[in-house]
């Protein structure tokens, strides 16, 4: 078996490069890899081996976080399949979809209104719930698009990931707003 640093995340975790991932298997392999490569197993090693242990486990940690997280996993898988989010196609589809643009603007406006509302905290919770429902729906769509796997489906999947990314950022903004209100 080759060095973890030389393997893509799916190979490293003994997984087929597909979107559906069994959490328990993922976790078990994560712990097995950590047991093997963690710097605690190399405290008596020379500094080169210690540095290598740090690099390998850092990579393993990053891989685990990516595969565990539905959105990060989707983005990574698309990248591996040649549908990078950074490519022109991604940006173009985002610009071209007027629906998505409108949705972005509406949601931002809604958040701005809430910022100054009287019962901001309560209304934020409601807003958050509705965003979570949207995210869940997108998540379901993603599963089906990845299962389909055709070029059209994967291009659509990339667009769904863009939407999810936007929703995620919005959720983060809400959390920040909440912490200022608390």
């Amino acid at each position: 078996m080759s060095d973890p640093l030389q393997q893509d995340y799916f190979t490293l975790f003994n997984l087929k490069p597909v979107y559906r991932v069994a959490e328990p298997a993922l976790k078990a392999q994560y712990l097995a890899l950590q047991q093997q490569y963690h710097p605690d197993r190399a405290v008596n090693a020379d500094s080169a081996a210690q540095t290598l242990a740090v690099q390998r486990t850092a990579y393993i940690n990053d891989a685990y976080q990516t595969l565990k997280h539905p959105l990060k996993r989707a983005a990574y898988l698309l990248e591996q399949l040649g549908y990078s989010l950074q490519s022109d196609g991604g940006a173009a589809s985002r610009v071209m979809d007027p629906d998505f643009l409108l949705q972005q603007m509406t949601l931002h406006e809604e958040l701005e209104t809430l910022r100054h509302a009287d019962n901001a905290l309560d209304r934020l919770v409601v807003f958050q719930d509705s965003l979570r429902r949207d995210e869940k729906a997108l998540q379901q769509e993603l599963l089906q698009l990845f299962d389909n796997g055709s070029a059209t489906a994967l291009t659509q999947a990339r667009e769904r990931v863009q939407r999810m990314k936007f929703l995620q950022r919005l959720q983060e903004e809400i959390l920040e707003l909440e912490s200022t209100l608390l």
Partner: protein, 623 residues
């Protein structure tokens, strides 16, 4: 030396002697040392049977020091030369100290590089040096008790310590001549001791309120794996602050002026601590306080009054608790056990309010003073390799986000808080001006948006970027955090390959040169002592290396090495054996590192071979 770690348990050549190691809890008010003997972790007492060592150091005019109870008993008589609670200043800047130390009975000296020192009769002393005196004292206790030199120690730090504070702790250990196997977060150490003792599984929360720091960590325990889900805290909040609040109350009640002198201040703080401790067991407490004019003031305090004074402080600790729960994505009801650690959790009101918040009875059946040192000793025992088949694994996180300064003084987070360590992240940046040839990389730590609100860790320059249009250069900055939670940063310009890297040395800590100078200084003080100790250490290390290599050669030498390669390693081993006959530790050290160098390739090959064997074994298991 990688050779030891990779020998499989069933292949290990000879049963090794137990390797000596220890866990050290370097606390704000008290410190402890613990070790594992015959499988049991226990804290070590001094000659008088006392386990705690007060973190107090007394400096005398001739530069000699006393540490612990002896130093503490002299504190009232000589407050300026008796340094206590200095952990609060470890790795901190002058500005921090001013906000922290408004009522402290010390003379701070502003040193040019922004690092505060304390003025004593023996000269200006840095907090790192004070910590190293405490560590030296514990190390001596350890040697007396073990009858030998430890191969390494695990030192605990508050989980909420930032990079500068961790680095300062490591510097203090170096100064004390100790090899640090790992810096371990205090709540994680407590979880190890508690989890292994009680065989607990599931989600536990550790609430650790010490003398000067507050930590809160949530962990998931599962078959020897201790996974920290989130941590938070306040590295400047603890029992000392309760004492200060009580002292302020005493001053008001007894009409003592605000500008009380150092002696008076120290007495008041001691009185405050005494009152607080007395009210742990009884409902009311009567006392008398000596005023500056030598008269005594008679007073009393009951629990209700105490609560009124300390409640705001306890409630302040609940904010980080809430944040950690939210970061871990957990609801309070999902926390299965609540473990309380740190001397300040002896205060009944702390247990009451925290228990209320978590809606459950906290575990107080473990000694809150000793549990951290014990957990550290267990980890040290595993790290030196005494339990080769042990599956214990600690997966910890960084407490505070690490980032870079962007244009406009905004902080861009590169590694967010509560990321599992080790961690590495890279991000690309570009130039903002045409023809820009250099870039300042300013590394900060903290959660705030503005760089000025975060802690500045380091600043370095990447030079030699070829002149290009603004936005054309591509500078890739990589952050890497090791298992001690320490950061190193590299910057790399992609179009030309110009590289600049730095092991982040905090702006407020000691520079490399300064540590080297201090080590030389202390050697000048006790040259022979140092030489003897260094020789002892190097001999231990040399024998370990030789023994391991000998076994490795016997096992794999034939398969993995050519005749010539083997001859080089063996010649290098012989040179080391020859050096061991003399008493020059530097020669031994040089021979050890030469041998290490010559055997690195062999170690790498063995590691690869063993990984193949291990993985092959795993697959057979699965079938």
């Amino acid at each position: 030396m990688a050779l030891l770690q990779i020998s499989e348990p069933n292949q290990s050549p000879a049963p090794h002697q137990q390797r000596l190691s220890a866990g050290i809890d370097l606390g704000t008010t008290n410190s402890l040392v613990a070790t594992v003997r015959s499988g049991l972790a226990e804290t070590l007492p001094d000659a008088q049977g006392r386990h705690l060592l007060p973190s107090v150091v007394h400096y005398r005019e001739d530069g000699s020091v006393s540490v612990g109870y002896r130093a503490k008993s002299g504190a009232q008589g000589d407050p300026l030369n008796t340094l206590s609670s200095t952990k609060r200043f470890l790795g901190r800047g002058v500005a921090d100290v001013k906000t922290l130390g408004t009522q402290l009975p010390y003379h701070f000296v502003d040193i040019h590089n922004g690092m505060p020192k304390l003025r004593t009769i023996a000269g200006d002393i840095s907090p790192v040096e004070v910590s190293s005196e405490i560590l030296k004292s514990l190390a001596q206790r350890l040697r007396d008790s073990l009858g030998g030199e430890p191969e390494g120690v695990v030192i605990t730090v508050p989980a909420y310590f930032d990079d500068a504070q961790r680095q300062a702790t490591k510097d203090a250990a170096r100064l004390a001549g100790l090899k640090v196997l790992r810096l371990l977060n205090e709540p994680t150490a407590a979880a190890v001791a508690y989890g292994l003792d009680q065989r607990t599984e599931g989600v536990i929360a550790v609430y650790d309120l010490g003398g000067g720091t507050f930590d809160f960590s949530i962990l998931r325990l599962n078959k020897g794996v201790f996974e920290v889900l989130a941590t938070s805290g306040d590295s400047a909040l603890g029992g000392d602050d309760m004492d200060r609040l009580i002292a302020t109350w005493l001053m008001q009640q007894a009409a003592i002026a605000d500008d009380a002198d150092h002696h008076q201040m120290r007495r008041l703080l001691d009185d405050a601590c005494r009152i607080k401790e007395a009210l742990t067991d009884s409902e009311t407490f009567a006392f008398s306080i000596e005023k500056e004019n030598g008269q005594f003031w008679e007073g009393a305090m009951d629990r209700a009054q105490l609560q009124q004074i300390i409640d705001p402080l306890i409630r302040k600790t609940l904010i980080p608790c809430r944040r950690a729960l939210s970061d871990a994505g957990l609801d309070i009801s999902e926390v299965e056990e609540l473990v309380m650690v740190g001397g300040s959790t002896r205060t009944p009101r702390v247990r009451e309010l925290v228990g209320e918040f978590f809606q459950r009875q906290p575990h107080i059946d473990i000694d809150p003073d000793r549990v951290v040192a014990i957990g550290a000793a267990m980890q040290a025992d595993v790290l030196v390799g005494n339990k080769q088949d042990n599956q214990m694994l600690l997966l910890d996180v960084i407490p505070l986000s690490l980032g870079l300064e962007m244009m406009g003084g905004l902080a861009e987070k590169i590694i967010p808080r509560n990321t599992t360590i080790p961690a590495a992240r890279a991000q690309e940046f570009t130039t903002y001006k045409d023809g820009q040839t250099a870039m300042v990389i300013h590394v900060v730590q903290g959660e705030r948006e503005l760089v000025s609100d975060c802690r500045s860790l380091s600043r370095f320059e990447l030079r030699g970027i070829p002149p290009m249009a603004a936005g054309a250069a591509r500078v890739r900055v990589t952050f890497q955090v090791d298992a001690d939670g320490l950061l190193s940063v590299t910057a790399h310009e992609a179009t030309t390959g110009i590289e600049s890297s730095i092991q982040v040395k905090p702006s407020y800590g000691l520079g490399e040169e300064e540590v080297a100078r201090m080590i030389t200084d202390s050697m000048a003080h006790a040259r022979e002592d140092m030489d003897a100790r260094n020789l002892r250490e190097q001999t231990v290390e040399a024998n370990r290396v030789l023994e391991a290599l000998q076994a490795a050669l016997a096992m794999d030498g034939e398969q993995l090495l050519s005749v010539g390669e083997r001859a080089t390693i063996e010649a290098s081993m012989q040179r080391l054996r020859d050096r061991l006959k003399g008493d020059d530790w530097t020669a031994v050290k040089a021979a050890v590192s030469a041998l290490n160098h010559n055997s690195t390739e062999f170690a790498a090959r063995r590691m690869n071979a063993s990984i193949q064997i291990a993985l092959a074994g795993q697959q057979i298991d699965k079938l």
